[in-house]
């Protein structure tokens, strides 16, 4: 007899369908899995066999061959257990074949027959809806996450026999949780930042035009304080963006199913590996993807290992990560606003009037040289952040800034403001005096547009261009 069930495997944030076929014949009891399973999938045969017995089903004197199709893709993970069990039960007529084949089944099986949650269920639930299946069967812990996907029936089940009962209609599925609430956790407020007028302005421009920002200043000057306040200046994510953010978090197993995600803020430590930052060979999202649609903060940029910094370049350019391995490749989104902070020198106090710098000029240059030109090219804005003035006036709170940013973003989306002749001339002068490189010209133009939009003006004036010049990254070369 032949039984069929459907499940998915997760390549990055993409759910790829797998058809599970089980063929049975009389013989010694055994389960064999073929179709490029990895070790965790291979072990499924033991979990499935025991889970079947624990749930009151049987496999006596049955030899089962399970095939995972398409057989050419190498599959990873433990989420196939339930679908394998369904296929086996259908093949042995312990559940209706049609019932097993019309749902997607995603859960790991415990030896006691319980369903356990797995990562990536959101993308799988969306794929279920796209394929027009009857519904998706998941562990109760995964139900909230699956419900984020629009237009899909979620069937939560506690055990294997509960799952079978819920599909055929003999039993009520487990109760579903309340739909997730909108994101409500407040971000830290810009009012906490005293002084730092120019740096605050840079942060506002970055938010308005999605400009990657590099801050340079001594320790304790408030660089990370500013960075942490940036997500709160961006407009709340659109429903589509919320799904994108949730999909990555789901794939990383980090989802909070009671509250929709807001703009992420990720701050990987400078000792992070390439895999942690960009994504692993097992196609799990790295920090650049977890920061998708939010802010990726790279503190102590010059302390990151060189290969890590170089690996960041492509994702920053393309807005996505492509992880390729022998068996296939995955694309992960990585469209974040990058904010980096660095000290001006190894000891951190170069140029600080309050404390002498202990670095030789050669060491200082070597330190700044660790940020390669091509990486520096990814930053539109460079701002020096002087040592904080604890007695400075409290700054403008986030709310009015966020309003200006929202208006500017709308303006920029509608129509990028054109340059006045005077602005064009100033830009040309800056290139001529070698204040700007050719790439720098394009960057300064983008920044000037955002400044004009923040000021609510329909044209980019020479003043906007001049201000953009003051943030040029060429100052670090």
């Amino acid at each position: 007899m032949l039984g069929r069930a459907l499940t998915f495997w997760l390549a990055g944030v993409e759910a790829r369908p797998i058809e599970v076929e089980a063929a049975t014949r009389q013989g010694a009891t055994s389960v064999t899995i073929v179709g490029l399973p990895d070790r965790a999938v291979q072990e499924a045969r033991l979990r499935v066999r025991q889970g079947i017995y624990s749930s009151g089903f049987t496999l006596r004197e049955t030899t089962v061959t399970v095939n995972l199709a398409p057989a050419r893709e190498k599959k990873e993970g433990t989420g196939f257990d339930l679908a394998i069990a369904f296929a086996v039960l259908a093949a042995t007529r312990q559940m209706p074949r049609a019932a097993a084949a019309r749902v997607a089944a995603i859960a790991e099986l415990g030896l006691d027959g319980r369903l356990k949650p797995v990562p990536g269920v959101l993308a799988m639930a969306e794929a279920t809806a796209r394929l027009g299946l009857h519904g998706i069967v998941v562990a109760p812990e995964n139900a909230g996450e699956a419900m984020l996907a629009p237009g899909v029936r979620v069937i939560a089940a506690r055990t294997l026999d509960h799952a079978v009962g819920a599909i055929v209609g003999d039993q009520e599925p487990a109760p579903l949780p309340e739909p997730a609430e909108p994101h409500s956790e407040p971000y830290p407020d810009m009012a906490d930042v005293r002084g730092q007028l120019r740096a605050r302005r840079a942060v506002e421009i970055a938010a308005a035009g999605n400009h990657n920002l590099l801050m340079c200043g001594p320790p304790g000057s408030g660089k990370s304080m500013l960075a942490r306040r940036l997500p709160g200046l961006l407009p709340p994510p659109s429903p589509a963006e919320i799904l994108e953010i949730a999909r990555v978090r789901s794939a990383a197993g980090l989802i909070d199913d009671e509250r929709l995600p807001g703009r992420p803020f990720r701050s990987p430590h400078h000792s992070a590996s390439v895999a942690a930052l960009v994504g692993t060979a097992r196609l799990r999202p790295g920090e650049v993807s977890l920061a998708h649609r939010g802010v990726l903060f790279l503190d102590e940029l010059a302390e990151f290992q060189r290969p890590v910094l170089e690996a960041l370049r492509l994702p920053l350019e393309d807005g996505e990560v492509v992880i390729a391995r022998a068996a296939g490749s995955a694309r992960l989104p990585a469209r974040s606003l990058v904010v980096a902070a660095m000290n001006p020198c190894p000891c951190g106090y170069h140029g600080d009037p309050g404390r002498p710098c202990r670095c030789e000029s050669r060491r200082r240059e070597a330190y700044q040289g660790r940020i390669s030109g091509p990486l520096l090219d990814r930053f539109d804005l460079l701002v020096e952040v002087p040592r904080a003035d604890a007695h400075g006036a409290p700054g403008e709170p986030s709310a009015p800034i966020a309003e200006r940013v929202a208006r500017a973003r709308q303006l920029l989306a509608e129509r990028p403001p054109p340059l006045t002749a005077e602005a064009e001339m100033l830009l040309g002068q800056a290139v001529e005096r070698s204040m700007l490189s050719a790439r720098g010209r394009a960057r300064a133009l983008r920044v000037a547009r955002s400044i004009a939009a923040l000021d609510g003006e329909a044209e980019v004036t020479a003043t906007h261009v001049a201000e953009a010049l003051s943030f040029r990254t060429e100052l670090l070369r």
Binding site: G195, Q196, L197, R198, R200, R201, H350, G351, D352, P353, S361, R362, E365, E384, P386, D389, L426, Q429, A430, R433, S434, M435, I451, D455, A462, T463, H464, A466, E467, L469, S470, F471, L475
Partner: protein, 300 residues
């Protein structure tokens, strides 16, 4: 390196000025445009501190750019700091420059100036009294300084500590009867001691290119005067003339937003009127423009 030409004393092409030295070099090893050895216009030797900060470098660059554009040949020693800025300024103006080395003319020293060395060999001239391959050594640099003094009509010192190589050059210049000029420094800074001592001893005081061109006997190049800054830039410049300041301080003092302050500073920077120091503060450079100021006339 190939392309090295040796010019021997007593042969055509050997600069006559060097014969004024009591120990003229027996030969000059040259890489680059040999014709620069008999430059007919004025020759400006520029020397100064190797550890000068950005303001000093910016001023040296600006003065040498103006001098070169007006027809002077800039000669310096390709050292770090002021020397490099002087060569840079001349090349910036699209004019050649001469570097006198304290090692073989084929030795790019110091390594951090390698790119500049290459540019000077291509667009200007590198000379040395030492044969090819001679390694740099501390005692060769003071000897090199006498050649800079001898080749120049006028020697300009920008930032120099007491007992520095730049002062050795100035001493040689005085021995040879060349004019010595110095940019004054704020009393108390290490980089001011040497130049201020020269000024006390009677060196010409240089505040900007108008002063310098006067000493060189050149008219200011007929370029456009620095763009008249808009009123806001004018306010910012006035504030900076009272003392160096960070943009945040300027915004507070002038009750302006950070945006317009940054824009004003960038315009002033583009006009060459202000320069940023190491701590991120901006300081003014004297800029009297091309035409609106009386040129300073040397006392003869």
């Amino acid at each position: 390196m190939s392309g090295q030409v040796v010019v021997r004393r007593g042969r055509p092409g050997y600069p006559g000025r060097l014969l004024e030295l009591h120990d003229p070099p027996a030969a000059l090893h040259c890489i680059g445009r040999l014709g620069l050895l008999d430059w007919t216009g004025p020759v400006l030797g520029t020397v100064g501190s190797r550890t000068a900060g950005e303001p000093g470098l910016a001023l040296a660059r600006r003065l040498c750019r103006a001098a070169a554009a007006a027809g002077a040949l800039v000669v310096s020693g390709l050292a770090l700091g002021i020397d490099a800025a002087a060569h840079d300024g001349a090349l910036d103006a699209g004019e050649p420059t001469v570097a006198v080395l304290g090692c073989g003319a084929d030795v790019a020293y110091p390594p951090r100036n390698r790119a500049l060395y290459r540019r000077v060999t291509e667009e200007g001239l590198v000379v040395s009294e030492y044969p090819a391959g001679t390694e740099p050594a501390p005692w060769r640099f003071p000897a090199r300084n006498r050649l800079i003094a001898a080749l120049a009509d006028v020697v300009l010192v920008v930032e120099a500590r007491r007992r520095s190589g730049a002062l050795i050059t100035a001493d040689h210049a005085l021995d040879l009867g060349r004019d010595v000029l110095a940019v004054p420094g704020w009393p108390g800074f290490a980089g001011s001691a040497g130049v201020n001592a020269l000024l006390k001893a009677g060196a010409g005081l240089i505040e900007d290119e108008v002063d310098l061109l006067g000493w060189l006997g050149l008219a200011a190049a007929a370029g456009p005067a620095p763009a008249a800054p808009d009123p806001q830039a004018g306010r910012v410049l006035d504030a900076l003339r009272r003392g160096p300041a960070h943009p945040d301080q300027l915004a507070t003092v002038l009750a302006m937003d950070a945006g317009p302050v940054s824009a004003a500073i960038a315009r002033l920077e583009l006009a060459g009127l202000v320069v940023r120091d190491e701590s991120g503060c901006w300081i003014p450079l004297l800029g009297r423009g091309g035409g609106d100021a009386e040129p300073f006339l040397p006392p003869w």
